[in-house]
Amino acid sequence: MALSRRSMMLGTAATGVAAATLAACTGGSSGGSGGSDGGSGSGEMIFANTTEPENPLVPTNTGEVGGGRVVTSIFAGLVYYTADGKAENDLAESIESDDNQHWTIKIKSGLKFSDDSDLTAQSFVDAWNFGANAANAQLGQYFFEPIEGYADLSKEDVAADAKLPGLEVVDDTTFTVQLVSAQSDFPNRLGYSAYMPLPASAFDDIEAFGEKPVSNGPYMVDSWTHDKEIVLVPNPNYDGPRKAKNSGITFVVYDSDETMYNDLLADNVDVIDQIPTSQLQNFESDLGDRAVNDPGAVFQSFTLPGYDSNFEGEAGALRREAISRAIDRKSICDSLFFGTRTPATDFVAPVIPGGGATDIEGADVLEFDEAKAKDLWAQAEAKSPFKGPLTLAYNADGPHADWVEAVCNSLKNTLGIEANPTPFPAFGEMREQIRARKLMGTWRSGWQADYPSMYNFLGPLYGSGAADGNGSNDGDYKNPEFDQLLSDGLAAESEDEAIKIWKQAEALIMRDLPVVPLWYQNTFGGYSSLVSNVEYGWDTVPLYYEITK
């Protein structure tokens, strides 16, 4: 690459003595690997940002975005997601059910993994059984929850070879899935990485497999130099809707957002999906047309736990509404985030079908209204005085300090109460407190969907089944009426019907405010002057296979 040749010139020119000594020590470590040939794609290799995957590249064990973007590039599941969050068939021929509970899945015939081994219905069933069995300790294990038999596989002393009774292979291209209960959005789930198929060879040594997986998606791993880069080349055995339009992807590991951004300015990296906080103000003017700032799939809020006596009963309800109305979301989004956040109008991010709705009943509680907020707070005080100060906890190892401060100031100024940001040094520490239900006051909460469905923003966060430590309903919100609407939606005839029912469910939490919605995080990033056809997926990750260079 030109880059290292030029930098070598600097080495000799800049410093007489030092460079001469150093040059003698230089080994053969020159230049990046550049474009690796092979594969069926056309055009050039594109460069994209990532962080070092936190786990080996095993689909059921990859939940974070650094490994996730690689896994979804090298594996293909039954369905894939279009840019606007619609699930379309990838390997599946059909996914059908009469009752939303018993599903028959047919896959295309003649499918192969990158090592030419056959991909059959068994490849799916084996992979799902592996992921669902707690003995394998996969982080994506919870994702198999809807399938019959999940509960037994989640017991602490589960046998290593136990399987999901809800899965049955009919023939090479057909298998059936029995769910615990009806779920109309089940097909929507199937594009998530946990549901990818695995070749039989994977299970011999899953860790070794994860270092260089045999895969079935648009790309396959060519090399993975830890902490530096992951090079993917097109997989000649993949012939689906996501076929690569470039000759590969080099994922460059960036620990520093600033370096990544500077590399983009110098066209050293082609597409990034993160902008450093320091550049939020000017990235759109720096990059012009090549800046991306669209609605995203992340919902941010803060939780007012049901077990804090301040937020209980009638006074609690008034207080929740007062707090929500006391926050000037728009001015925080504009002045602090420079328009890379969008004020929330509901509980579901806007890229999700049905999300970002502006017609939820009672949504005016999300509007800034100083007089009304003061009035509601006074009414609450009259019923039962607030035992303050109000605290808003956050983890200081993430970029939260600024907005937490701003929200607290908003509360202070509007309600005239003491509101204090409460930092925890590490995310794990805050989780520990929340899980033990020891954290009183409020805390920041957020949700990035695993798959594009309204249900994923509602069920796991506010459903009674996920309360009391059984899921992510950390504030222990329980409302039978809400639960009923959730399951009605799951049993609905069509997606439109389901969305209509879930919007009614949203109206309930809009009234009860188990969390105070703040804003949706946009998809923001940018691309270099060398590439075209850049589009970002519903999950804020670019659709790499479409990019041409």
Partner: protein
């Protein structure tokens, strides 16, 4: 002399034990529940959680965890990180990078610092002395990250003569700019130390005698002034080597260098105690070794210092 070295090396054993224990306790106390950090915002079923805890020995008391760790380290097994890679491999990948970076920084601060310090010390009060002093003041006053970002932006983005992302290929050439940035502050200190020390020695009796004997100016400066002035400078550089290795985190993060600082930062965030302890212990050992070398150098620089048994 040999006995002295052996004794010093033996002293490192209790330091090693103490450092690992203290760091283990701190790592355990500081970073919250590592398994919950691993799961992030997502739910984790109790069975999976228990499996993971057992896998990383997190279900045992801290002291037992530490003893298991020590037992493994004696057999040179540092364990496996949360990312499934052996800790020894990760450290082996990160250390050479940081060592290269630190060596460049030390060369920069020593060569430039001593030369500038000598010039400054010999021309005390002259224009060049004042200029160098102001320069060093500037370097000390500007924080490393500002210097780093400016260097990256001007040399990398604007001029395109240095790599922006050093991490993809942390070779000697590519590490030059980060090395200069890392060594800059110490350069200023070395300059000032050398200057003061030289200025003192210039007026000393033995220097006047040497000059009176008719030695050349160069001979007087190198043999009589410089050698005698270097003890405080060597002390500083020796201690600085350890500090540069552990303290390179800012420079490493600006240039995206996958070195010790980056690894340490990541493992502290993840609450990965075995990794934190291994890294910190290695840094402690490097610190002790560089101090030992400094002590031995005293004897070379000043014949009056001798190490007996």
């Amino acid at each position: 002399m040999i006995w002295y070295i052996v004794r010093r090396l033996l002293q490192m054993i209790p330091v090693f034990l103490g450092a690992t224990l203290i760091v283990y306790l701190l790592a355990f106390a500081a970073s919250g529940d590592p398994i919950l950090t691993l799961a992030g915002d997502k739910p984790i079923s109790p069975a999976v959680e228990q499996q993971l805890r057992a896998q990383y020995n997190l279900d045992k008391p801290v002291i037992i965890q530490w003893l298991i760790y020590l037992g493994n380290v004696v057999r040179l097994d540092f364990g496996v990180g949360f990312n499934g890679r052996p800790i020894a491999d990760q450290i082996a990948a990160a250390f050479p990078v940081t060592i290269r970076l630190a060596i460049i920084a030390v060369i920069v601060e020593t060569v430039f610092g001593v030369i500038a310090g000598v010039i400054s010390g010999l021309r005390k009060g002259k224009l060049i002395d004042t200029t160098l002093l102001i320069l060093s003041l500037l370097v000390i006053a500007v924080p490393t990250f500002v210097l780093g970002f400016v260097a990256q932006f001007i040399l990398g983005v604007k001029l395109g003569i240095a790599p922006i992302n050093v991490g993809r290929d942390p070779s000697w050439q590519n590490l030059l700019v980060p090395g200069f940035v890392l060594g800059a502050v110490s350069f200023a200190y070395v300059l000032r130390l050398t200057r003061t020390s030289i200025a003192e020695t210039v007026g000393a009796d033995h220097v006047r005698t040497a000059t009176a004997k008719g030695l050349s100016r160069g001979g007087v400066v190198t043999k009589h002034i410089l050698r005698n002035s270097l003890i405080p400078v060597v002390t500083f550089i020796g201690a600085d080597l350890g500090a540069l290795m552990g303290g390179a985190i800012v420079t490493e993060s600006i240039f995206n260098i996958p070195g010790v600082g980056t690894l340490l930062f990541r493992s502290i965030n993840a609450g990965e105690a075995p990794m934190i302890v291994s890294l910190v212990t290695l840094l402690v050992i490097i610190f002790l070794l560089s101090n030992l070398i400094v002590d031995l150098l005293y004897a070379v620089l000043d014949p009056r210092i001798r190490y007996a048994k």
